[in-house]
């Protein structure tokens, strides 16, 4: 079966059909809202049609069976023989799920399970059994056995048969070219196969001889084609094979004797005939190059009409991209090192060269990053279905809007964000959007809206999920925080409203009393936040009671390279992710206050807790005595701000994140290591982790 061998082709199929499946999911949901939109119905029909086409090319019968029926259903729909209704959707969506499962099987290199007979039956029912039977019939009819059902051949036929057998045995004595197909194919295609063999002899290939002349001329070489056949050989078949030789000259596997004979007899203008195999192999080899398109003369005239993009793409294993990214990372490090060294050398030429290298490295890094970019659509694409299912399960009316689906971000990020986003959207629907009746009572439209938005803001991506639901009540949140024992009443009362909203990300915090299927387990938001922070991102929520909530996620464009602020504590250099850094200033230590045992400074009328990183991370934690002013870096985690006192600020540097070795893996507060411009090792600080591990209270 083609399934095993044609891995390349299978992958090709999976890529295209996978995209179609994603689209189908959305289109089906749209269809439920749009009703009988003929454009949409056509699109869905074509989707199933195309998947079926590819699947049948690969002999994936279970896929074909399912798609074929789905296609028929949509054909009936687009022809107006049926209406879109809930029953249809309740059948089609699970069918889509089954197809997705089959695709998962295929991706794992397994043969997909046979199509669920129950589902097939449901589809048949949708069609009304009759029409399905009719649509199936021809296909089956074609495959129907072809065993001779002629019980009494006439005398004429017997004679023919006898002659044919004679011909066949004569053929056996001659040399046998590699054409077993003529004898062993016992399937439908026989007819067409033979017919086409026959048809191949065309005027173009037989310049001067008529078909008959050609037949007799090459009889010797052609007859053997039928050798091994235990069936009768008619004139037509004979002609057909002969013609095959005319037409198929130059084909690998064609009998060379026959080729040469033809050349002698007919003096074909095609010079390549005498050595079909040799001539052939060269162009074929060329063509195996990925993007090797033969330059068509017409292209010169109109360069922009080159064959479509499909042929200019190459599929690359992401592993390879990861490798390239790593190498670029190394290059960035060397570049950093050179930049540092160049300052010492003070040679104009060197400095020119280094500047050049700097520019090129930056460009290269950008280009490589782009190869790994995928549109956020990949993740957003699943939401229409999620929302649709949720709305049905919760009996709410919900409309999903999406903006900026084309925003690109790193492939790894796209994958890593998928689960957290789904959770957040579920949460917004479950907790945020009210029941239609309740909405009506407060003067809102019955249908709630969830808006998913993505945009690139400088070197990071901002994603937001907004709903126009009931919003959050900060006082209720405070109360819950106290009842759940997360903090005492005083601390709760001191929280700003904004801080209250972000309480939902605290572990063990769930506002829903009843645990539902959808959300409300109280671990979700905590996990989501942790996940996003692991991606060097941040998450924040804002809300207005009665008007809705906005959840904002910021993630860096890529995971591999990170802009940092290099700081020094004692003798050691550390890298502080720039995404966390809000501001830097010099602090007169005398302005520092101690409140409730916590060192605090006031920045623009706001108290900010202050930590001496030296105490946590330097080998000699004693404060430096030589100065009464210090550098303070204000960092933000979510809505919270804290100040870090550091010994020295080195400046901004893009670093390549290297994982910590096994010994250090899991060290609290450290997310990785990197090599600095001067060739030293710097640890990369994981700000939330650090605070969690060292700060008294967060």
């Amino acid at each position: 079966m083609a399934f095993d061998g044609d891995d390349e082709i299978l992958q090709d199929f999976l890529v295209e059909a996978g995209e179609i499946l994603e689209d189908l999911g959305n289109q089906l949901v749209d269809l439920e809202n749009a009703g009988n939109d003929s454009e949409l119905l056509n699109a869905v029909f074509r989707g199933f049609h195309t998947i079926k086409g590819g699947a049948s090319f690969l002999n994936l019968d279970s896929l074909v069976a399912l798609c074929h029926r789905a296609e028929d259903v949509f054909n009936a729909l687009r022809n107006g023989e049926r209406e879109v209704d809930a029953q249809l959707m309740d059948v089609m969506l699970p069918v889509l799920d089954s197809l997705n499962d089959m695709f998962d099987n295929l991706r794992d290199g397994e043969e997909p399970d046979a199509a669920d007979p129950e589902q097939l039956k449901q589809l048949d029912d949708l069609l009304g059994n009759e029409s399905t039977a009719a649509a199936e019939a021809p296909v089956e009819a074609v495959v129907v056995d072809e065993s001779p059902s002629e019980p009494e051949p006439s005398a004429d036929e017997l004679e023919d048969e006898f002659e044919a057998i004679l011909a066949a045995s004569a053929a056996n004595e001659a040399q046998t070219p590699a054409e077993p197909e003529a004898s062993d194919s016992d399937e439908i295609s026989d007819e067409e196969f033979e017919a086409m063999l026959d048809q191949m002899h065309g005027k173009g290939n037989v310049p001067s001889n008529t078909a008959d002349d050609a037949s007799s001329g090459t009889e010797e070489s052609a007859t053997p084609l039928a050798s091994g056949a235990d069936e009768l050989i008619s004139d037509d078949e004979f002609d057909a094979m002969l013609n095959d030789l005319h037409g198929a000259g130059g084909m690998p596997g064609a009998n060379q004797n026959a080729e040469e004979k033809q050349v002698e007899k007919q003096a074909e203008p095609e010079t390549k005939q005498p050595e079909p195999a040799g001539q052939k192999s060269e162009p074929v080899a060329e063509k195996q190059e990925p993007a090797a398109e033969k330059p068509a003369p017409a292209k010169k005239k109109a360069p922009r009409e080159a064959p479509p993009a499909a042929e200019t793409t190459v599929r690359v294993d992401t592993k390879r991209l990861d490798d390239i990214m790593n190498l670029v990372g190394e290059l960035v490090l060397v570049r950093n090192r050179l930049t540092t060294l160049q300052a010492k050398v003070d040679d104009e030429n060197v400095s020119h060269a280094v500047t050049n290298l700097d520019v090129i490295t930056a460009d290269l890094q950008n280009s490589v990053m782009k190869t790994r970019m995928q549109p956020i659509k990949k993740v957003f694409g699943r939401f229409p279905r999620v929302i649709r299912d949720l709305a049905r399960a919760l009996s709410k009316d919900i409309k999903l809007e999406m903006e900026g689906e084309d925003t690109d971000l790193d492939k790894n990020l796209v994958e890593a964000l998928a689960d957290p986003l789904v959770h957040l959207v579920r949460n917004a629907v479950d907790h945020g959007i009210e029941m239609p009746d309740d909405r009506e009572k407060v003067g809102k439209p019955r249908t709630g809206t969830v808006l998913l938005r993505a945009s690139q803001e400088g070197d990071h991506i901002e994603l937001s999920i907004s709903d126009d639901g009931k919003g959050m009540d900060p006082d209720v949140l405070r109360g819950i925080a106290v009842t759940k024992g997360l903090m005492d009443e005083d601390s709760a009362a001191r929280l700003s409203d904004h801080e209250c909203y972000n309480l939902i990300f605290a572990a063990g915090f769930s506002t829903k009393v009843e645990i539902s299927d959808i959300s409300g387990r109280g671990v979700g938001m905590d996990v989501v936040k942790t996940r996003i922070i692991q991606l060097n991102g941040s998450v924040d929520i804002d809300s207005k009671l009665g008007e809705g909530s906005v959840l904002t996620i910021k993630v860096p464009l890529t995971l591999a390279i990170m802009p940092t602020l290099m700081i020094v504590l004692g003798e050691q250099t550390f890298a502080l992710p720039l995404v966390n850094v809000c501001e830097i200033f010099d602090l007169d230590l005398s302005q520092m206050n101690v409140v409730d045992g916590q060192k605090v400074i006031v920045v623009r009328d706001k108290p900010v807790p202050l930590y001496f990183l030296r105490e946590w991370l330097a080998q000699n934690p004693a404060p430096r005595a030589d100065t009464d002013s210090s550098h303070v870096v204000i960092v933000a985690i979510g809505s919270q701000r804290v100040g870090f006192v550091v010994d020295e600020l080195l400046g901004q540097e893009e670093v390549v994140i290297k994982p910590l070795g096994e010994m250090l893996l899991g060290t609290p507060g450290m997310s990785g290591a990197t090599i600095t411009g001067d060739g030293k090792i710097a640890l990369i600080i994981d700000v939330p982790g650090l605070l969690k591990a060292y700060a008294r209270r967060m």
Binding site: F57, N75, P138, V144, E150, S185, P207, M251, A298, K301
Partner: protein, 348 residues
């Protein structure tokens, strides 16, 4: 000659597969691809390919509309890829009607159970169509026999003794049969049998289509059908159709084909049966088509004294089967397609 091909399919998967298959043949060059009918028209205009392979179901503009527009603007031979379903049959017939030369099943396993063989045959078909060009185009290949045109008749003397018309055809046949049969009046006095090389799933749709277009009645033959004046019976695909007489009534006998039989339905088999049952009293007509099916059956009809007509080269999509008849000296009249219907209506 290298056949320059434009591939039209909305599925990049299929474009690539077809591209791979065609490019593996040194005598075929894929010069462009298009994702939909609209692009196909633009590309066809710019690239001037020798052959276009065309999918039917496509966004923006479907294949049938594209065929129609291309044939209007700058006619190029078009090979349709169709699925062997009832709807596929309808669409394919529409495409042929719009001017497509021929069609192949989209599922390559339906071309041949052997994948490599199917690929080879696909290439061969593309090359052949490229070499032949369109029927209306001057033929470049040296296969033109000047003698042919001399024999071409326009009006044919009337013969009284015809009792049955049998028409056999292959590539180009759907359009040709339509052209001939639509010219026949409702009260056409003779029964007609039609043999068109076609997959089993296509013949019901084809018969239905002809019935809708013609004044005479056309339907797919079933076993036991009786011949009637003004009724044309189309041989079902994948089977063989013969005639049999019982008690003075001629009826249709449909049988499963033998393994060795290349064509299902076969013109030869039906014509032979006509020769046996209507010795000297049938009119056999062979229309456009590749190959030589029909020649041996026609020979037997001729031996019994029946008259034979064949389509002339200029009006054939593929001048194969009629050529075989002519070369064997069997054809009594060589006619342009446009005159066959009239002659038929007049001469019987």
């Amino acid at each position: 000659m290298v056949a320059r091909v434009l591939i039209v399919d909305d599925s990049s998967f299929f474009r690539r597969r077809v591209n791979e298959i065609l490019e593996a043949d040194a005598r075929i060059e894929v010069i462009g691809m298009a994702k939909n009918g609209q692009e196909a028209i633009e590309q066809a205009e710019k690239l001037k390919p020798d052959v276009i392979t065309m999918d039917i179901e496509m966004p923006v503009m479907d294949g049938i509309t594209a065929v129609r527009k291309i044939m209007q603007k700058s006619p190029i031979p078009i090979l349709m890829f169709s699925s062997l379903t009832t709807d596929g049959a309808k669409a394919t017939l529409d495409a042929l009607d719009a001017g497509a030369v021929d069609f192949l099943p989209k599922k390559f396993d339906d071309i041949s159970s052997d994948r490599d063989e199917a690929k080879r045959l696909l290439c061969a078909r593309v090359r052949l169509i490229a070499a032949r060009g369109l029927a209306t185009k001057p033929v470049v290949t040296p296969s033109v026999r000047p003698a042919v045109s001399k024999k071409t008749s326009t009006t044919i003397p009337k013969r009284k003794n015809h009792q049955l018309i049998a028409i056999g055809t292959s590539t180009g046949g759907p359009v040709a049969l339509q052209e001939v049969l639509t010219k026949l009046p409702k009260n056409f006095p003779l029964p007609i049998i039609l043999i068109q090389h076609m997959p089993a799933s296509f013949t019901p749709a084809f018969a239905q289509r002809l019935d809708g277009l013609c004044q005479i009645e056309v339907r797919e033959a079933v076993d036991g059908d009786q011949l009637k004046p003004g009724l044309a019976l189309l041989a079902p695909g994948g089977k063989q159709m013969k005639l049999a007489k019982r008690g003075g009534i001629t009826y249709i006998k449909i049988s499963e084909p033998l393994l060795s039989e290349n064509y299902k339905p076969s013109v030869d088999i039906t014509f032979e049966s006509v020769a046996t049952n209507y010795p000297g009293t049938a009119l056999g007509i062979v229309l456009t088509g590749m190959g030589a099916d029909g020649r041996e059956g026609a020979r037997k009809m001729k031996q019994g004294g029946s008259e034979l007509w064949s389509q002339d080269e200029a009006s054939c999509v593929v001048f194969g089967m009629p050529a075989a008849l002519e070369e064997a000296g069997l054809s009594d009249h060589v006619l342009a397609l446009s005159t066959i219907g009239e002659n038929l209506a007049r001469s019987v």
